[in-house]
């Protein structure tokens, strides 16, 4: 690691102020940032830890909404939402491994927007709202490509607000080495519409598979997906673990499996 200054503000305002001075980066759970720093792939002058900021942790449910504080760890979400929104709990409970889940946070994952991360699929799949220190951003506007979001340099996610789905499920096919999603598909039935969000697969990061949404809107059953052509292979990531055609195929398979899991 390169040397850096470490600050631990107590409020969101202090944190934002700290981010405005010099080349600073937010440190949430650190489960992506610290490995990045260890590999010397980033050289911030300052890390602004959110660990001491009040009010960023915890889950509130009610009025058809689940609001998760940005600093809430995957482990807490997996445990506490198991009853209320099993799809989110299951997704959270399959991120990384137990030690990673104890420190990694939903806010950190979303701000990083790794194309193989799981949370972007849930946020986009449920049409959630990303709440920051200064505004609310709809999921459809938040994700802007690989490792790119609508966040400004000094903007901090404070919470994520999910609408309560009628049913939802996440089907993930692991990349065999990293266990990140080679393809992960989040399917949700909400009031009046079906949303299908895909992570791991696309060159452009998480995306909505609109053909599947339309088909499932008409007939919410695996057979409705079966009839579809997979998304275009040339838009999918091609690597050692699967060329574009394989990923495109898996998008379809995982979508069917997620629909089946919705019951």
């Amino acid at each position: 690691m390169y040397a850096f200054e470490f600050v631990k503000p107590k409020t969101v305002e202090e944190a934002v102020a700290a981010l405005r001075e010099g080349e600073a980066k937010v440190l949430a759970g650190g489960q992506t940032l610290i490995p990045t720093l260890k590999q010397r792939l980033a050289a911030p002058e300052k890390l602004v830890s959110l660990a001491g900021v009040e009010g960023l942790r915890g889950i509130r449910t009610g009025d058809g909404v689940v609001e998760i504080g940005a600093g809430t760890t995957h482990a807490v979400i997996a445990r506490e939402l198991a009853g209320a929104v099993p799809a989110l709990a299951a997704l959270a409970g399959d991120i990384g491994d137990p030690a990673v889940r104890n420190r990694g946070t939903i806010g950190g994952s979303l701000a990083n927007n790794d194309p193989s991360a799981d949370w972007p699929a849930a946020v986009l799949g449920l049409g959630a709202t990303v709440v920051t220190d200064r505004r609310e951003i709809a999921a459809d506007d938040f994700f802007q490509g690989l490792f790119t979001t609508a966040l400004e340099e000094d903007e901090i996610i404070t919470a994520v607000r999910f609408p309560m789905p009628k049913t939802a499920a996440y089907a993930k096919f692991d990349q065999p080495a990293s266990r990140f999603a080679l393809v992960g598909v989040f399917v949700a039935r909400l009031d009046g519409n079906v949303r299908v969000a895909v992570t791991g697969a696309s060159e452009n990061g998480v995306f909505r598979w609109q053909a599947a949404e339309a088909a499932l809107g008409a007939d919410f059953a695996p057979a409705a997906v079966e009839a579809l052509a997979p998304p275009p292979a040339e838009e999918m990531i091609s690597d050692l673990h699967g060329a574009g055609d394989y990923r495109a195929h898996l998008v379809k398979v995982m979508t069917k499996r997620a629909v089946a899991a919705c019951g």
């Binding site: 440190l27 610290i34 890390l47 482990a75 491994d97 030690a99």
Partner: protein, 155 residues
């Protein structure tokens, strides 16, 4: 340099560290607790697993300054003060759950975390929980057996 204080295996420690010091470096190099190992640099092998405030964490993926004020338990804190092995440690010996011993501290810390949250795990649950601990020697067979035996011994 930043001053940090924490409790490690029940003993309070205070030290000056550079902010870029990893918790594992602090434990190994500053405190001489070399039981916690480093087996990778991408946060996947789990050889560095310790407990931070009672929760399993990778000490290679955490800064020492992040552990300021925390209670840390490492493999050196798992046996009784008189050296008697804890139930999990004993089960690892009884069931030959280790060979070269390098991944073992992390395995024991993970097993302890698992049994705290799930005192009666199935083989499948044990294997799933150990997803973040790589072992190249045992094929995991005897590790799974040891964790299962520890669960039974703890009743």
């Amino acid at each position: 340099m930043v001053e940090i204080s924490m409790t490690v295996n029940g003993k309070p420690v205070t030290a000056q560290v550079e902010p870029r010091t990893l918790l594992v470096t602090f434990l190994r190099e500053h405190l001489g607790l070399t039981g916690t190992h480093v087996g990778c640099d991408t946060s996947q092998c789990g050889a560095c697993n310790v407990h931070v405030n009672g929760m399993l964490a990778k000490s290679c993926t955490m800064l020492a300054v992040e552990a300021d004020g925390a209670e840390i338990v490492t493999i050196e804190g798992m046996a009784a003060p008189d050296g008697t092995l804890g139930v999990i440690q004993q089960a690892f010996q009884d069931h030959h759950g280790l060979q070269c011993g390098f991944c073992t501290p992390g395995m024991v810390m993970s097993a302890a975390a698992l049994l705290r949250e799930n005192p009666d795990p199935s083989e499948e649950e044990i294997r799933a929980f150990l997803e973040g601990n790589l072992c190249r020697c045992t094929g995991y067979h005897n590790i799974v057996k040891a964790v299962r035996a520890a669960a039974e011994a703890m009743g």
